[in-house]
Each structure stands twice: as C-alpha cells, then as structure tokens.
C-alpha cells in the first residue's frame, strides 16, 4: 500500500518482481550479489528507486513473480493468545496439584510397582504440556481412517468418556469426509487405475517383503529400474532410493559431511534434516528462515574466519534447505541460494519432500518452478510418500555422489530394501507424470493442482483469513493463533464433514498455531467450494478472520497480490 504507482507492474504477471511479506526479517534478498553485480556505491538512494533496482536485478534471477506473505500477528490476538496459554498453565498446575493429592483421578499410565525406586523414566515437566494442554484436544490428531486417503476419506468415529485419555470406537464410520489433510498432491493415492493394477501384479509376483539389504541380496530389478527413472525424471545423472523418507535425510547427510565441515541449515528445516545434520558431527549454523542476507552473512563469516579456535579453513560447506516448508507453506528462494552457493563454493542439499511433483509446470519440483538447471543443486532429495502416493525417499545428483552413497549409505548396507509393490507404484506414477504412459493424465493433474492452489488461496484471502506462504504452494497454513481455537476448529470442521490438520506448539512457534490445508489435484472445484464455504462458516463462528488487509472479491488477481504486501522490503 505504500507503493507508488510508478513501481507497480503494468500487468503484474509479465514483469518479474520480488515481493515479500510483512515481516522483513523472515525473507531477505541477497545484498552482496547486488553489490557485486551492480557496483553502485550509493547506499542511501530513494526507497522507490532502490526497489526498482532490486526488481530489475533479482528479475535476472527469478523468471516468475515470487510472492510470499506472512501477515503480522495482530497485537490484540497475540496478547489474548499468551493469556490463553497462561490460563491453561495455571489450570494445569492446579490439576496436577489435585492429582498429586488424589483429589482428581489420575489417568496417566503408571510405572511398574517393582520399578518405583528406579530413576524416573520421564522428567515431570516433560509431560506437563502433554498432560494438561495436548490431552484436551488430542482427538484432533491420529484420527483413524479406513479408505484411500484421496479427495474424500472415511473417518472412523471415536468417542472418549474420560476427556481424551482413552478413546473407544463407536463402530460408526463418518463417510465421505473431504480430505484437506493428506499430502496427496497429485492424487495418486488410488486403489484403482494403472498404478494400483501394476502394483497388484508385482505383489503377486514378488510378494511384499524383501528380507535383505540392497548390498546383500535384496536388490530387485525393480529397484534398478526405479532409480534410473528417478534420475531421468529429475534430469540428473544418477539417483538412489531408500525405504523411508525420514531416514533418507537422517542417514545420508552423515555420509556427506563430517567433522571439519560446516552445515548451514534453515531454522525451519524438518526434524529429519535436523537429526541428520546432528548425526553428521559437523559444525551447524542456523540461518533465519529463507533469509538470504542472513545466509550470505554466515557464509562470508564462515569462509573468512574458518573453523572456530583453529581457524583452519572449512573442509566444505553444505547448505541445507527444503523446497516447500511444510508448516509455513513458503517456497525456498532457490535462485538466490544457487547464486550464493556458486559464489561461495558451497554445496547445496535440497529437500523436495513436499515440492517434488507438486510444483513446476512439469511437476519436477522447485527447480522446474524457477526454471533452473538441476545440475546446480548438488544433492537433490525428495520423498515418494506425497506426490507419488507411495513410500520412501530418494537422493539424486552427479554420478560420483550416487556411487559414493551406494557404497557408503547406511541404508544400503543395513536396511531392508524397498517393498516391490511400493517400487512399482513409484514407477507407474512417475511415468504418468512424465507422460511416458502415452497419456496427458499426469500433466493434467499437475495443472489441476496448480489451478486449485491459486484458487483456494485466493478465496481464503478474500474471506479475510491470514494465510501464510507462497501463492503457488499447495501447503496452505491458515492462522488460528489461540490454543482453544486449535481444538475448536478441528472439531467444528469434522462435524461438517471436513478433515483438516491443525498444528500448535511445538511444531509451530507458541503463538502461531494454525490449520494446514494440503491441496490435491484430486479435489474438484466443487469439493473445494464446499470446503471453502464451511471454512468461512467456521471462521465466522470462531472469529478467525484476522486479516486486516481486506480484499474484495471483485478485485482482479493482480491487485490482490500487490495489496497483500504492505511495504517494500528493501526500503
């Protein structure tokens, strides 16, 4: 809104612009790249002028508009949220006191009588949060389902007679719940169609298990075929697949970096990356989420100062980022990361767990989205769980990297190889996306997803919800803030036959509890409309429409974009 008309793009689409959210510290642009390319000593230029430069320059890096918004938490909401937690904590202590004196019945499982004098297995405070906060709204998680996790899903009804300490199944099934929770981005979670058919054939031939490791005697022909296909799909030399996405990260990063290496990790990286980085024994430095200035500062400092104490140069520097961040819905600023990595000779580890298949005109992930060269990313990691409707993960890259992993990966040596029907599901779904099955079904799904995402996000913003993340990200976090609203939103939505995921602390910062919708290509416009009208209804009921940037549905999409970003970041 502070923008002057002069800087407004003529049509919003054609001219590349880089825009940020309202929290400048969340996202930043590369300063020194500008410095070294531009060679303009004038630092105190006019804000508007500078923005033009930035747009032009980063336009060189970005081939499409990069719009992400993180609307600031309204002050009143923040205060009320803290109060909410305060009240919960006070009551938690009160009830713990009552439980201690046996006034209130205690449902917690007890230590075995003979082991009462052992050192307690859990610290008391460890479980305070679980006992007094999580337990109240526990019914919003682990909801059992009994159908394909497709666009609609059958949820098994649970009831609790003791305030969520135990659940019993009523025997009823809530049919046809609209599924906004599963990571079924391209809708390959199916029990019919070519994927299921070929998986069934493979099951009949091979069975489901392997009972050996890749290096010993568990390397099926299907594994080899799948890996070649993955490499082809990503446009790299070679690839290797692993049985579990989590373990792909946690067991392969230690093979890539070790003592004397530096890992620069985004603060919002997934637990598997954090674990892998820790297990590697390297020095770890964390940069602010998607903040390129911060990343560059750390890179410069690291190279200039070398290792702590000894000042020896680092053996290597590995930057670890994700394609789409699963809790923020943000897309990594990959063009800038690559520019930085090239300038400072660091290596780049890109986790595409959520973005592979779900981003880019051809569904090849975040590299495709920005139109970059896959060879610029040293380690491409991703999972098969989400877009491909299977299980496991892969690492892809240069031939030397994969050869090294084939001989040194923990998983290749010690873990049972992937189940044959799962492998088959990956092969068939990937071929479908690539169009190798001779149809355009895969491509249509990619387009359907992209259309759904833009539509869904736009509508939610129009309704006045605070939505985080990139406008093209299929992960759509909607802010709830207050702890009581987490449970209320989840329940009210299920009551209206919509399954959503709600998340609070510790998965998010304490005041930023949110609901997370995952959009799928399997959602039809009709399904989305129904979901949206219910979200709006529940949003009114629970007063969730926090956004102070009221957007009128009558405005075009271009205007919507510019008005969500309040102030130019670079000023």
């Amino acid at each position: 809104m502070t923008e002057s008309p002069a800087t407004k793009p003529a049509d919003g689409e054609a001219r590349p612009r880089v825009k940020n959210g309202l929290k400048p510290e969340r996202n930043g642009l590369v300063k020194s790249l500008r410095r070294c390319h531009e060679r303009q000593p004038k630092r105190h230029c006019h804000p508007e002028e500078e923005e033009v430069h930035a747009a032009a320059l980063n336009g060189g890096l970005y081939n499409r508009p990069f719009l992400e918004s993180f609307e600031e938490t309204p002050m009143l909401v923040a205060v009320l949220t803290y109060m909410g937690y305060g009240i919960l904590t006070v009551f938690g202590y009160l009830r713990d006191f009552l439980r201690h004196w046996k006034i209130e019945r205690c449902h917690i499982a007890r230590e075995k009588e003979e082991q009462k004098d052992f050192v307690p297995l859990y610290q008391d405070f460890e479980n305070f949060y679980t006992r007094n906060l999580y337990m109240r709204i526990r019914d919003n998680w682990n909801r059992p389902i009994c159908s394909v996790p497709g666009a609609k899903v059958d949820v098994i009804e649970r009831a609790s007679s003791d305030y969520n300490w135990t659940f019993n199944y009523t025997g009823r099934v809530v049919q046809e719940v609209i599924n906004l929770g599963s990571y079924n981005y391209l809708g390959f979670a199916e029990n019919t169609g070519p994927c299921a058919t070929s998986a069934a054939e493979v099951t009949a031939k091979y069975g489901v298990g392997v009972a050996s490791t890749r290096q010993e005697i568990g390397n099926l022909d299907g594994h080899e075929e799948m890996e070649k296909l993955v490499a082809k799909f990503l446009g790299v030399e070679s690839a290797m697949a692993f049985g579990m996405g989590f373990a792909t990260n946690s067991m392969n990063i230690p093979a890539l970096a070790g003592k004397g290496c530096l890992i620069l990790s985004d603060e919002l990286n997934h637990a598997s990356l954090v674990l892998g980085v820790r297990l590697s024994g390297s020095t770890i430095r964390v940069f602010k989420h998607n903040n390129m200035q911060n990343l560059e500062k750390l890179l410069r400092e690291a190279i200039v100062h070398g290792q702590p104490r000894t000042h020896r140069p680092w053996k290597k520097i590995l930057i670890v980022v994700e394609g789409i961040y699963s809790m923020e819905g943000s897309v990594v600023r990959l063009p800038e990361v690559i520019a930085l990595k090239k300038r400072y000779r660091a290596y780049l580890y890109l986790d595409e767990a959520h973005s592979i298949g779900a981003l880019g005109p051809r569904g090849r992930g975040v590299i495709d989205y920005f139109g970059l060269d896959p060879c610029d990313v040293d380690v491409m990691m991703g999972t098969f769980t989400k877009s491909f409707g299977a299980a496991g993960g892969y690492i892809a890259g240069k031939r030397e990297l994969i050869e090294y992993l084939r001989s040194h990966s923990h998983s290749a040596v010690y873990a049972t190889s992937m189940s044959p029907p799962v492998v088959e599901q990956i092969i068939t779904s990937m071929k479908c996306i690539m169009g190798e099955d001779g149809t355009t079904i895969g491509l249509k799904r990619v387009q359907q997803l992209a259309g759904n995402v833009v539509y869904f996000r736009k509508r939610l913003q129009e309704m006045g919800f605070i939505i985080y993340g990139n406008e093209d990200s299929p992960v759509v976090p909607m802010m709830l803030y207050m702890p009581a609203k987490i449970g209320a939103f989840g329940r009210e939505m299920l009551k209206r036959n919509i399954g959503v995921v709600v998340v609070g602390f510790p998965a998010t910062p304490i005041i930023e509890s949110r609901a997370r919708f995952c959009i799928s290509a399997a959602h039809t416009r009709d399904v989305l409309d129904r979901a949206l009208s219910v979200i709006s209804e529940v949003g009114d009921l629970l007063q969730l429409k926090y956004s102070r940037h009221k957007i009128h549905p009558s405005l075009t999409r271009t205007c919507t974009r510019t008005s969500t970003t309040d102030e130019p970041l670079l000023s």
Partner: protein
Amino acid sequence: MTSQFKIATFYLYRMRQSWTTYLKELLEIVHYFYFAPAYHLILEGILILWIIRLLFSKTYKLHETYKLTEKEKEDLIEEWQPDPLVPPVSKDHPSLSYDVVTGHKITINGKECINFASFNFLGLLDNERVKQKALASLKKYGVGTCGPRGFYGTFDVHLELESRLAKFMKTEEAIIYSYGFATIASAIPAYSKRGDIIFVDEAACFSIQKGLQASRSFIKYFKHNDMEDLERMLKEQELEDQKNPRKARVTRKFIVVEGLYINTADICPLPELVTLKYKYKVRIFLEESMSFGVLGEHGRGVTEHFGVNIDDIDLISANMENAVASIGGFCCGRSFVIDHQRLSGQGYCFSASLPPMLAAAAIEALNIMEEDPEIFTVLRGKCKHVHKALQGIPGLKLVGVQSAPALHLQLERSSGSRDSDMQLLRTIVEYCLERRVALTLARYLEKEERFLPSPSIRVVVTVEQTEEDVHNAVSCIQEAASAVLK
C-alpha cells in the same frame, strides 16, 4: 590532597566511633567533597568510569584482535577451495554394482538359485495367503498413506496390527514404525537423553549404534555377552552415584542388548540381565529383529526362549522385515513406556506411516504364526541341522549357536588383511552362486562400525530349504573352501 588524607583518617577514626554518629560523619564526607578542587573530582570521576568500563567490557574478544578489510575478505573467499562433496569411489568397489535379484525362487543376475541369504526364516515372503491379504488391502486402500500417523495417516489396519502384535507378544501395547532400521534408532533417543547412561553390548547392530548416537547419552560398551564385565561397570557406576547422589537421582540408566545378535549369531543371557536390572536399577531395552518369530515355542523371541516374564523387559523392539517378511518395525512393552513414543519417537511422528498393504501382510503373517506354532519347531530343527552340517569345513569356522537361523562362516586363519579376506570369501560365494546356491557376504560400513565384525559369509536358514538343498549347499561350500583356501 588534604581532603583525601582527611577522608582516610576519617575512615580509620570511624571504626572507633559508634553507629549513632555514622550519619553525621557521612555528611561531613560530602562536605569535604564539596570543597575538593574541581580537577580532582574530574580526575577521580574519569578513574571511576574507567574502572566501570573495565568491569563491564569483555576481557578478550577474539574477532576484535584483527580486523580484515573488505578486500582481504574477498581474497579469502576467492582463495577458499572446498573438498569435493564426496570422495571418489574406486571403479572396482564391490558395492558399486549390486547383484540384481528377481523373483523369489531367487534369480541372481539371471541365475536361479536356492536362497541361503535372505532373512526369510519362515518362508512367508512367497506365501500365497500373505500375498492375497496384501492384494485385498491394496484394492481397498491403495499403496501409500500420504501422511504421518498424526495427520490422517492412521489406518484401521495399523491399529489392528498394533493390537495384534501386543497380543502376540503378551504386552500391553505395541507401536509400529514404517522402517525396520528406524525402529530402535528412534526408540532409544525417545527415552535416553543427554547425561543419561547406556550400557551396550559391543556386538550391538548398527541401528542400535545410530540410536545411541542420536541420544547423545554416555555410552559404555561391555564385552560381548560378558555379564561380569557388565556387572563391573554397573558397580563402578554405583560407586560414582554414591559420590554424587543428587546427580544420580536424575540420571537414567539403560542396558541395550540384542536377543539374537545379527553380528555374532548368539543369544544374550537374558535371565542374568534381568537379575542385574533389579539389582542395579537399570532398564533393559531388547532388540529382537533376529529372534522375533524364531526363538521360543510360539516365536515370541528370546523372552519365551528363556521363560523370562516379558514385563521385566522395559522395551522390546523388532523389525517385521525378517521372519514376518513384510516391511517396518515395532516396539512393545508396557503402555507407560510405549505410549511415550507416540509423541517422542521421531521416526514415528515425522515419517509417513506404513503402507496399509504391508501392515495387512504383517497381520496375515502373525495369523500364520499363531495358527501353526509347529513352524517354529520346524525352523529349529533346520537350524540345528544346518549348524551341524556346516561344522568342520576345512579353513572355515562357523560362528553362531545352533538355534540361530542366520549364521556366519569366517576364515579360520586370516590371510593378513581385511581386503584379501573379503576377496577369498567372495570367491567362495561366487563359486556357490555358479552352482545355484545363493549366499552373501555380511556387509558392514567398515569406517562407521564401533567394533567391526570379522569378514564372514552369511548363511541363512529358512523353513523352505529341504534336506537336499542343505546338503547341496554344504557340499558346495566345502568344495569351494577346499578349492579357494588351499
């Protein structure tokens, strides 16, 4: 000068004064200051500020000792050359090209073989009933779950499998993981944290080692299956605890052992371990990937084998990739212990759940195991038979107890280096492969293992092998050994 002298004398004088006159004197000091020369006060003021500055500034700042100019920084950045991302792998590294295996009357690189290498102890890999159940589940649920357990990734099949496993093992609760390797590796750090102490057998498998590393606890290795060594360490720890009881009250202690060691093919002395557990108040975690579905009358593993009350073991973990011939792993025990993993087991919370068809296959495998416990007797018989048949091969030494279904054949005399030992054993494996007996070398990451086991050939017993198969295999190995190890 005079004022200062007066102040000093005043202080001396004051000591003899009573408290009642104290205030009055203080006023007098102020009075003297008032009359002191200005330069004096300024000087003293500066001195005081200087002292304050010294007090509050950091004594020594590393980065301030040198200041680099932008140019110097650019040069440093220009000069820095990183190591390659991965070191090159020699072209003839044995693990660069894996053997390609097809089907389950196993075909290796196009050659049909009798399988003595897959951990398919009960022969359920190719079982028709298991396949049918998996197919039915595939028809209902598709392949993937598209979510972790928390977010619509919990299927009714998972709940059924968990309750069936708990029932099978006669424990209160079970929890399933989607990857065998990650099971114990996630379970250990869910309980043991920084500062806690874990006593581990030296022969513990790699996934245990990873769990220990992730837990960041103090790790104490005791000699393999040596209870005296363990007790010595526990006693040492007890003395240590007496010295510092306050710390001991919050330091959790665990023993982590395997039921049937994959690396040494022998069984842990569980009854002794349980005695030690209560004597020294240490919890026991038991990894049963090799023994679940193998040992004991009903295949419940090493607890049943020894007749130990399963409640005395704090946590049992096993994978469903060997005897059960599916994918994934589970932990079982008392709810008090197991339930904690549902929020703290990283491999459980943050990973997509097990594909339902694999869970369904595991349920059917459990059905088969429950319906026909005879299968374990058959397996035991075969193990005994193979164990006996493999004795006395010249140049090779059999490692393992007779109830173990996965044995190791090691060289009797090492040829000097690990590489050449491996090469000798590989020649034997290839010789057998030529004659349609599929064996494999036990593979390890040589640099990563805490205690690297000696090179060996793995011989896996399954119920599917006939007496003739065993005879063939043994004579094959014998021929190979006499040809290779002259």
